[in-house]
């Protein structure tokens, strides 16, 4: 929180510089693989659907046969190959000084701080894809209506567990 902020432009394509400038730690690099596989699972049905549509409909009505398939697969490949690594790099977090700080995104960047004393309860979760890479995500619940859950993905499982313990020691409820 004491960092001086470079009002000026950190190179948007160098994410480590971004996190460093804001005094944040980066998430585990393996998280980009998790994102990549998740994206793959999302894009595959779309691309296949587009191809089916192409074969079944576009060819029948004599439209530009093949265009849709090529476009869908191309976009899918780009989405799977390029973006996940960047999206992963733009997650940043900092734990300490009695608070958890989570930042995400670039085009729309959100930097959230949750003081430990405001945490209602904590989850550590692990999806099947995350398990392959030994990662977990930490979910912090607050009683605020906005930000009732703050999720920090891409943590090594042991780190996530350690963070949970750190936060747990501070939890105290102030509502009757």
């Amino acid at each position: 929180m004491t960092e001086t902020v470079a009002v000026h432009p950190v190179d948007p394509f160098d994410a480590h510089a971004l996190n460093a400038a804001e005094g944040l730690d980066s998430v585990d690099p393996a998280f980009s693989h998790v994102l990549r596989i998740t994206t793959l699972f999302n894009m595959l049905p779309i691309a296949i659907g587009a191809t089916v549509l192409d074969v079944m409909v576009v060819r029948e009505v004599g439209g530009p046969y093949g265009l849709l398939s090529v476009l869908a697969w191309l976009l899918g490949v780009i989405a799977v190959v390029t973006f996940p690594a960047r999206r992963a790099q733009r997650w940043g977090f900092k734990i300490g000084e009695g608070q958890l700080r989570v930042a995400r995104g670039w085009l729309f960047r959100t930097d959230t701080i949750v003081p430990f004393v405001r945490v209602q309860h904590i989850d550590v979760g692990q999806g099947p894809v995350e398990r392959w890479f030994g990662l977990s995500h930490l979910v912090v619940h607050t009683s605020g209506t906005h930000n009732s859950t703050v999720t920090l993905p891409g943590l090594r499982a042991d780190l996530a567990a350690a963070m949970r313990e750190t936060i747990r020691r501070h939890i105290q409820t102030d509502f009757a």
């Binding site: 085009l107 729309f108 930097d111 701080i113 605020g144 209506t145 906005h146 930000n147 102030d174 009757a176």
Partner: protein, 513 residues
């Protein structure tokens, strides 16, 4: 939130005191059946269309009978027990639900009476526990006799009253806090609405929405009305004039018909405003009780709601561009509890002067910033979103006009209007930081001031995007417990360094006690 520890004692000893809901509840169930038969209408229609009209009445009868039997079973299987320090509710026809609520955990008891319930002398009782979340999940008794409801509330209050002096031990620190935080020991009247005040408030409550409903209704039932007269139709005014032999004069002065239509429009607008205000706020009383603000109001549906002072998270002052000039304001309080099923926050002063609102704010330890307080403005770039919307509307309108649809002009006009309003309103976004709270002002047509104690803030987002970042700006969004009609609390587009400093200061605050 309900803990098991307090639920242990002597259930067996109290066993014989099980009570049922008031039998009149069944009468209420019959009334409630009315609207529900609407669901049944398609089935009836199907039978009718099939040509079997003879079955319609028996089918309806069977439906009503089954519903009544179900209601009766539900009534039979619902019982509750008021123990010495807890209330136990058992419900469910097949799947039984057994719920124990220790008195310690009941923040307060709300009592609500609809029109029919008042005629029957019964009331719906809601138990306000600390548990956030859905109102559906709250324990309720629907319904018991009014005197029983009041007795129950007295019992629970008395119980809480007992625990206060005993609670100096750190084990129930929350009670100790409360005892020091609220020195008030007896009920004091904080605010009331006189009939005259209701009338003034109603006039400011000029409602175009109700007008639209009346207009639509007039269109719909034009042929059904006993009098063949649509006040929105100038032709009808001609007819009226004709009947009284004023025809010649009217034809000469056509504008009179227009004025007539306009006047009745205005009349309906004002009348519906007054009516709505009177229905909602008749006999409005806000009192300070030992640990809560208690509000009773309503003409047909009378509600009695208590809002625990300690659970108030933020105060919101709402006014209008016109009523502001006459120093009329509305005060709403945001807390974990919802106000009934519809409202997200509690209206505690529907219509009052600032001098009347200040004492109420004083009760919840929030002080309005004084006139000398310097306010800082948000950057005008916040108009960008609205301007983009305006641009889209104008573009759509232009395309429509190019395609030969003259109605596209409306889009262009709307775009221009939206742009003007956005640009103008953007100047009214401002904020100021007081020692222990932040105040946020926004809006011109309906200015809203949010008074947000630092201690209520659970989390802070600092947001920036591709528009704000190059300008060195950021938006602060606060996570605050409970909902409000405003949605989230935010200070948009302020300098990044200011935003970071403010965030640090707010998060340093202790929790609200």
């Amino acid at each position: 939130m309900t803990d098991g520890a307090a639920a242990l004692p002597a259930e067996a000893a109290a066993e014989p005191e099980w009570q049922r809901l008031h039998p009149a509840t069944l009468a209420l169930a019959i009334v409630k059946l009315g609207p529900r038969t609407v669901n049944f209408l398609p089935a009836l229609a199907a039978i009718g269309i099939a040509g079997k009209w003879i079955y319609v009445l028996p089918a309806l009868g069977a439906f009503l009978l089954i519903s009544l039997v179900v209601a009766w079973f539900a009534w039979l299987r619902f019982r509750f027990l008021v123990g010495s320090d807890e209330i136990v509710i058992e419900s469910g026809v097949f799947a039984r639900q057994h719920r124990t609520i220790p008195f310690d955990r009941i923040q307060d008891v709300s009592i609500e009476q609809g029109l029919i319930a008042r005629a029957l002398g019964i009331a719906k009782v809601g138990f306000e526990t600390g548990a956030g979340g859905d109102k559906k999940d709250e324990a309720r008794l629907d319904a018991i006799g009014l005197d029983a409801a009041q007795a129950l509330r007295t019992t629970i209050r008395a119980h809480r009253g007992d625990t206060v002096p005993a609670a100096a031990t750190p084990t129930s620190g929350e009670d100790a806090d409360e005892a020091t935080a609220s020195p008030a020991t007896e009920d004091r009247l904080l605010f009331a609405m006189s009939p005259r005040r209701l009338l003034i408030a109603g006039l400011f409550n000029f409602s175009l929405a109700a007008l639209a409903v009346v207009g639509a209704g007039m269109q719909l039932f034009d042929n059904l009305l006993p009098f063949d007269f649509n006040i929105f139709n100038p032709v009808d005014w001609f007819d009226l004039a004709e009947r009284y032999g004023l025809e010649q004069w009217i034809v000469a002065h056509r504008w009179v018909a227009g004025v007539g239509a306009l006047l009745s429009l205005l009349f309906i607008g004002f009348a519906s405003g007054v009516l709505m205000m009177v229905l909602a706020n008749w006999g409005f009383r806000l009192t300070r009780e030992p640990r809560a603000l208690r509000r009773t109001r309503g003409l047909t549906t009378r509600t009695d709601v208590a809002l625990p002072v300690r659970r108030v998270q933020a105060a919101i002052l709402v006014t209008g561009w016109l009523r502001k000039r006459f120093d009329w304001h509305e005060l709403r309080l945001q807390s974990l509890a919802r106000d009934g099923e519809k409202e997200k926050d509690h209206q505690v002063v529907p219509f009052g002067h600032l001098s009347e609102i200040d004492p109420v704010l004083g009760e919840i330890a929030i002080r309005r910033p004084d006139a000398a307080q310097p306010w800082e403005h948000s950057h005008r770039v916040i108009a960008a979103g609205g301007l983009f919307g305006a641009l889209c509307a104008a573009a759509g309108g232009t395309i429509a006009m190019l395609l030969g649809q003259p109605l596209g002009g409306i889009g262009i006009a709307a775009g221009a209007l939206i742009a003007a309003v956005t640009l103008f309103s953007a100047r009214f976004h401002s904020w100021t930081d007081l020692p222990d709270m932040v105040a946020i002002r926004r809006g011109w047509l309906k200015p809203k001031t949010t008074l947000l104690p630092h201690a209520s803030v659970q989390s802070v987002d600092l947001k920036s995007d591709f528009i704000l970042r190059p300008l060195g700006l950021a938006t602060l969004v606060f996570g605050v417990p409970g909902g409000s009609a405003l949605g989230s609390h935010e200070i948009p587009a302020i300098p990044l360094a200011t935003a970071q400093a403010l965030r640090t200061r707010i998060l340093a605050a202790r929790s609200r006690a």
